[in-house]
Structures are given as C-alpha cells and as structure tokens.
Amino acid sequence: MNFKKLKNTQFIIALSLLVVGIGIVVSTTLPQATKYYVTVDEFLKAPEKYAQQSIKLAGRVVPNSIDKNTQTLTWTFKVMESEAPIDVYYQGAMPDTFKDEVDVVLTGEYVGGRFVAVEVLAKCASRYEEKLEAPLQMQEQANHLSSEDTHRDDT
C-alpha cells in the first residue's frame, strides 16, 4: 500500500513538473510576443497609448494613394477605416494581393506623423470576403450590362 502511494507520488511530482514547466514557458514567452492590434479608427482615438512600441494596425488601403519607388523598393500609401487616413511608409517586398482597397494588417511603429511598417499582410486570395457586398455590386453591373449587352435569359 505504501509502495503504491510512493509510486503515485512519483507520478504526481513528474506530472506537476511538466505542467509547471509548460506554464512557465508560456507565461514567460507570451508577453514578449504580444502586440496591440488596433484598427485605424481605434488608433486615432488614442495615438499616445500606442506610441513608441511595435503594434499591429488594421485598415483598408485608400484608393490611388499607393506610391511605389522601384529603385529603392519603398512604398508610401494611406490606410483608413471610416474617419481619417494614416500615412504609411514601408520598405520591402509586398504581398501579391496588395492593391487599392485591400484590407491590410501592418506591423510597425508610429513615428513622426507616419506609420513605419516593417511587415505588410494583405488578405489572402480566398475570395470569401466579397460575399457580403456582392449582390448589390452585381445588381449594378447587371443593370449596366442589360443596357448595353444582349444576353440570354436562363430563367
């Protein structure tokens, strides 16, 4: 009986060591890898809160704001949500899906009146997100079409 108890104690010690170990690793590494994630509007409400640290900024690329320098591989563009835009500066490779009006998540720091990005993520090519706006858009396109094109009627 005592022998069995000893065995159980061994297991409990080993298991708790394991759990505590994982717990320590999680709790020490997590704070180093975290960043604020804010949308452009949220950022503009309290820019001082997010100053002088690397954050993630989500917004939509303002149409016709993209300026690319192929000699220095630098980009400037604006992102906005609903209120005001923010100027963005970025040096490096852009994702293929980056273009006007695409949703982006930028990683970087707000310095001297502009957001200096070190990483740009554009939404991936899966086109699920267009679903919501589609019917209205399509209606417009279709109305436009029916005025200039002849088409077959399937229904």
Partner: protein, 662 residues
C-alpha cells in the same frame, strides 16, 4: 427542371429525411428493435443520396456556367480550366459547406455499410449523432448559406477563381483537410453512442481508433500540402507561419495523435478510459472550434473568410456539442474506471501518458496563443495579438521532449522495466545519442544564440537516438524471425511489418517525424537577403555567387510574365539557373487584375536556394531579388511522405483481425 432547382429540392428533402432518421434512431434506441435500426440506417443512406444529388447539381451548374446562380458567378468563369470549375465546389464558403456535408455523408454511409449486420446495439446512437451533425449543416445550408441562391436577373459571365488559387494544390489541399476535419465526426459518434448507451467495454475504442486514424491521416496530408503550397507556390519563403487558420488545423492533429497512442493503452491494459473519451470529444470540439474561428472572422488571419453570421451557427452548435458530450461524460464517469493502475514510472504506459500530456499541452498552448487576442479583447477591451515568436519558443522545447519520448517508448516494457532490461535496450541508443551530441558540439555550425545552439544539438542527437531505437526494434524483431523461420533479413523485415502493421507501421510514422524534425531544425540556419541588382551585377550569399543575367518577357493569352534570369555558382562551380518571375494575369470580364509571384528554386538534399523576384524597373532593368537559403527543407517533404506511407501501413486492413472485430 433546372439543376439549381434539383439541388435546392434535394437539400430540402435531405433535411426532412434527416429529421425523420434522427427520430427513428432515438425510437430504435428506446424500443431496441432491429427493424427500427434498419430504418434509421437506411435514412442515413437516403440523406446521403439527397446530398450527393445536391453536390452533383452544383457541379453541373459550375461546369455548364449557369452564372445566374450567385455561387457560380462568384467562383467560375468561361475561361477557367475544367478542373478548377470542379474545385470551385470547395472554392467558396457556401459550396465548401455542401462539400463538407457530402464528405460527412460519405463517411456515415461507409460506417452504416460496415455495421450493416452487426453492432445493432451501438448503431442507433451512432446514427443519431451523425444525423445531428448532418442536420446542423443542412439547416445552415438551407437557411443561411445556400449555394443554389439565384440572382433575380440574368447574368452571363462569372468572376472566376482568383488566379493565385488556380494551382493543383487547390484541387487536393482543401479536400484532404476537410476529410480530416469531418473524419473526427465518426469517432465522436461512436464515443457518444458508448456514453449514451453505457456500453463502455473495449468495442467502441476499436472502431474509434480506426476512424481516428483515418481523420489523423488526412489531417497530416492536409497540413503537409498546405505547407508545401505556401513554400513552393505562394512565395512566403517559409512553410508555416502560425496563422490562426493553420493552428486550427494543427490543434486537432495534436489531440488525435495523443488519442492514437492512449487508445493502445486502453486496449492493452484497460486504463485511461475517461481520458480517451475526453480526447475524442476534445478532437471533435477542436475541429468545430477551428471552423468557428476561421469562418466567424473573430481572429484575424491572412486567410480571410467572410465575416458572416455562419460563425454564430457554429458557436451555437459548438456550445450544444460541448454541453451534450460533457453532460454524458459526467453521467458515465463512474463506469469509466481503470481496470489497472500504473505500476512503475519507467514503463511504456507512463511513456505514453507523458506523451499524451505533452500533445495535449502543446494543443492548449497553441490554442491559448490563437485565442489570446479574443480573450484579451473580452477581458481588457483591447485586442492583443500573439506572434510567431511565442509559438516557436514554446513548441521547440515541447517538440524536443516529444521526440525524446518517441525514442524511449519502444525501449521500455509494458508495466515495468527492470534495470537489466533498461541497460540492454538503452545502451546503444543512448551511446549514440551522447556520441552524436559530442560530435555536434565540435562540428555543427554555430548560430548567434546559445539557446538555439543547444536546441540544434539536442534536436539532431535526439533524431539519432530515435532512429537508433527504431532500428534496434526492427533488428530485434527480424533477428527473432530469422532464428525461428530461417528467413533472409529483407523477408524477415517485410513479414515483421505485415504481421504487426500497427506497431511497425507506427515506427515508419516515427521515422517520418524524425525527418520532419531534421527539416525543422534546419530552419535555425536559414539565411535571407534582399539584393538590388542591375544587369550583369553579382551578389553573394553564403557560399553562393549569383549573377543577374537578363530580364525577359514570357507571355501567353492568360498572363504576362516578366522573368529574371539569374545564374548561380557554388564555390566557383556552376550550380544552376534561377528564373523567378512576376506574373500579371489578364483579367477576364468581371475579374479584377491580379499580380502573382512565381518563385524559382535550386533544390538539393542539403539546402534549397530560393529566389523571388520582388520587383523590377523596366526603365533600367534593375531588379530587387529576395534570396533565401533554406537548409534541410527537403527532409520535411520526404519525412512527410514517409509519415503518410507509415499511416497507410497502419491503416491497411488486417485480414486476420476482421473476424475478431465482427
């Protein structure tokens, strides 16, 4: 009747039959009459036929370009190759839900066929669970995500599938992930049946283990294909980014891996019954949670899905599933007592137990990191994201402990291992472990961080340790066969595998894992550099010399391509030619212009030289070139292949055993 109408009515009818079947299976459970069981079973087949008819209808719509069906308009167009029109079934949200349902029905039908003459006391509740899941999807598809919705006006063109997705990976990667995700429904159904009916002997675990293996197998393939897609085609330069969508597919893989190990303990020793139930339920819940997270848009991911209300449906279904399964689990808790206790800390049971805890610990650590932004927003009102450094720094030590246990498991005996046995089995593998560690200490290239040097050393020497332990397992078995049956080594090893597929196939899987670890460890030596080059200019990275030779167009009607030709020398010997390019897809009507990057690679066992053309300036033909040296990446794909092969061996039906299971 038009195909979209046929599809629509099939879905309505499927829902009605599904409800009928659900009621019948509950009735069959209460009355315990085989007639009712058969009716319930037949209704599963009937639902499946309806769903199949709906899927075929959607395929007909997609292939014949019925663009006034909104889904067809969104995801196909006239110029797309036929194969991508077929793949468009899972290219968008609504179609992929129908595809999901179709796989569920296919699995359910197979289960009903396998058990057509047996297990009638199990079957009603298996039916009920599977039909409840199917019912959920049918409600979702019929009322909120209808792939057959038509626009009230005529349309004669489609937007087409994004050219970036028109790749053969699109044909195979999503289906294998879906097969894996949906596959967990079957083990869950058996587990629920065992819990509800209280038949908690070992019969359920045998069925469940086989089906979990199927799910695990496809999850493995799906994840590997996803990595390979990201690496080879999408130009990310890496194969894993700890994106929430990737994590959602990886978490169930971890929990099913845990279950596949602990199920063996239950079969052999009658232990861990509650734990196994928890793992099966957890794995199923994780597939739902993963789908909820990715489809609801509550976590941000590069894989964007609609921010639609189908997330709410999944949340409700998730809560119901957790409530029902945990409820029955608690109700049966007293019947799930172990028949044995752990005898010793150095035993195979305890090695498996630790392996399980680490698998589940890893799953929770990843889940925690994935959910952290959501939780922090709830608790503190600000969204805080967790980046790849967290996942990497936590998964490296966890992975190394797992690797260590992979080597230890086969060497220790069931129940307890004596000191003599320990000595006999461990002396060679441990000797090799220490030896290789010492060699690596002197000869392995060093990185700047001490911790990563320690990890590199541990990882490679543990790989040697595990390989040695597998080698001696095979050798030991083969020696015995040679002694008794006078077989040659080759024949002995072959017969060894055939005679115990689960064990020796499992070792093949482990060997695949070892190769994966070799590949993962190679990442520590990864080098990446961006160069701005003018024609004929030279760049150097590691021991490679690159010369930018020319920029030339390569056009066809579907796309315009600009290719940079770069010659590569290694230590002054010509090594090969890289041709990374930028592609501009010609938009067809209704399509948006899309640009793509085609990477170019020179692959070898030692390392890949990976090139991406970031941009070019047509005026002076200068280019920006990203070069990545990815050491040992090839091991990942080869290891993955071996893992899949081992999976096939383990799953291969055992002719001898089918009679036993019946």
């Amino acid at each position: 009747m038009t195909p979209e109408k046929i599809g629509q009515y099939s879905l309505y009818f499927a829902l009605i039959v599904c409800v009928f079947g659900l009621l019948t299976s509950i009735f069959a459970q209460l009355k315990k009459k085989s007639t009712y069981v058969r009716i319930a079973r037949n209704s599963v087949w009937a639902v499946s036929l309806c769903v199949l008819s709906a899927a075929v209808s959607l395929w007909v719509c997609l292939l014949t370009g019925r663009f006034h069906v909104e889904y067809v308009h969104q995801y196909t167009n006239d110029t797309m190759p036929i194969i991508y029109k077929v793949a468009a079934l899972w290219g968008g949200q609504n179609g992929s839900l129908l595809f999901w349902l179709m796989i569920l029905c296919a699995y359910s039908s197979v289960v009903m066929w396998q058990n057509r003459q047996k297990n009638y006391n199990f079957l009603p509740m298996v039916c009920a669970t599977l039909l409840s899941i199917a019912g959920f999807f049918l409600i979702l598809i019929n009322f909120d995500a209808n792939p057959f919705a038509v626009v009230p006006f005529a349309l004669d063109y489609g937007k087409g599938l994004n050219p970036l997705l028109q790749n053969y990976y699109m044909i195979i990667h999503p289906p294998s992930l879906y097969l894996g995700f949906v596959g967990m429904s079957v083990p869950f159904a058996f587990a629920m049946s065992a819990l509800i009916t209280g038949q908690l002997d070992n019969r359920w675990i045998v069925q469940v283990r086989t089906w979990t293996l199927v799910a695990w197998f496809f999850l493995s393939i799906g994840n590997l294909l996803g990595s390979s897609w990201a690496y080879e085609v999408l130009g990310w330069g890496g194969y894993w980014a700890w994106d929430p969508v990737e994590n959602a597919a990886f978490i169930p893989w971890l929990t099913t891996s845990a279950f596949l190990h602990s199920a063996i303990i239950q079969e052999k020793r009658g232990m861990l019954k509650t734990w196994n139930m928890v793992l099966v339920i957890l794995s199923f819940i994780m597939t739902l949670l993963g789908t909820f997270l990715t489809r609801s848009g509550i976590v941000s991911s590069v894989h964007s899905f609609a921010q639609s209300n189908i997330g709410t449906y999944f949340l409700v279904f998730l809560i119901i599933s957790i409530g029902v399964s945990v409820g029955f689990l608690l109700y049966r808790l007293k019947d799930l007592q172990s028949q044995h206790e752990l005898d010793a800390i150095v035993s195979r049971e305890s090695a498996f137990l630790f392996n399980n805890l680490i698998f589940v610990g890893a799953a929770f650590a990843i889940l925690w990191g994935t959910l952290f932004p959501v939780l922090s927003e709830w608790v503190r009102g600000t969204k805080i994201t967790v980046g790849a450094p967290y996942f990497n720094s936590i998964m490296v030590p966890i992975g190394l402990i797992l690797l260590f246990l992979t080597g230890v498991g086969p060497l220790v005996a069931w129940r307890k291992t004596s000191k003599e046995q320990l000595k006999k089995h461990f002396v060679w593998p441990v000797g090799l472990l220490l030896g290789s560690s010492l060699l690596l200490l002197f000869f392995a290239p060093k990185t700047s961080s001490l911790l990563s040097n320690v990890y590199i050393n541990l990882s490679f020497s543990l790989c040697v340790f595990v390989t040695a332990s597998i080698f001696f397992e095979y050798k030991h078995g083969a020696d015995l066969r040679r002694k008794f049956f006078k077989e040659s080594y080759g024949l002995a090893i072959l017969k060894l595998i055939v005679s115990n597929k689960r064990r020796y196939g499992g070792y093949i899987v482990h060997l695949g894992i070892v190769l994966l670890f070799v590949g993962f460890t190679g990442t520590a030596y990864r080098q990446e550099k961006e160069f701005k080059l003018n024609p004929n200019q030279i760049a150097k990275i590691k021991d490679y010399t690159l010369k930018y030779e020319a920029l030339y167009p390569d056009n066809n009607p579907h796309r315009e391509k600009v290719v940079a030709k770069v010659n590569v020398w290694k230590d002054k010997v010509f090594f090969g030619e890289l041709t990374p390019s930028v592609v501009f897809y010609t938009p067809s009507r209704g399509e948006e212009a899309q640009q793509g990057t085609e990477v170019s690679m020179l692959r070898s066992v030692k390392e890949d030289v990976y090139a991406a053309l970031i941009t070019f300036d047509p005026s002076d033909r200068s280019i920006f070139l990203k070069i990545i040296i990815n050491p040992l990446v090839g091991f990942i794909w080869f290891g993955g292949l071996l893992l899949v092969l081992g999976g096939v061996v383990v799953m291969w039906p055992n002719r001898k055993n089918t009679a036993v299971y019946a």
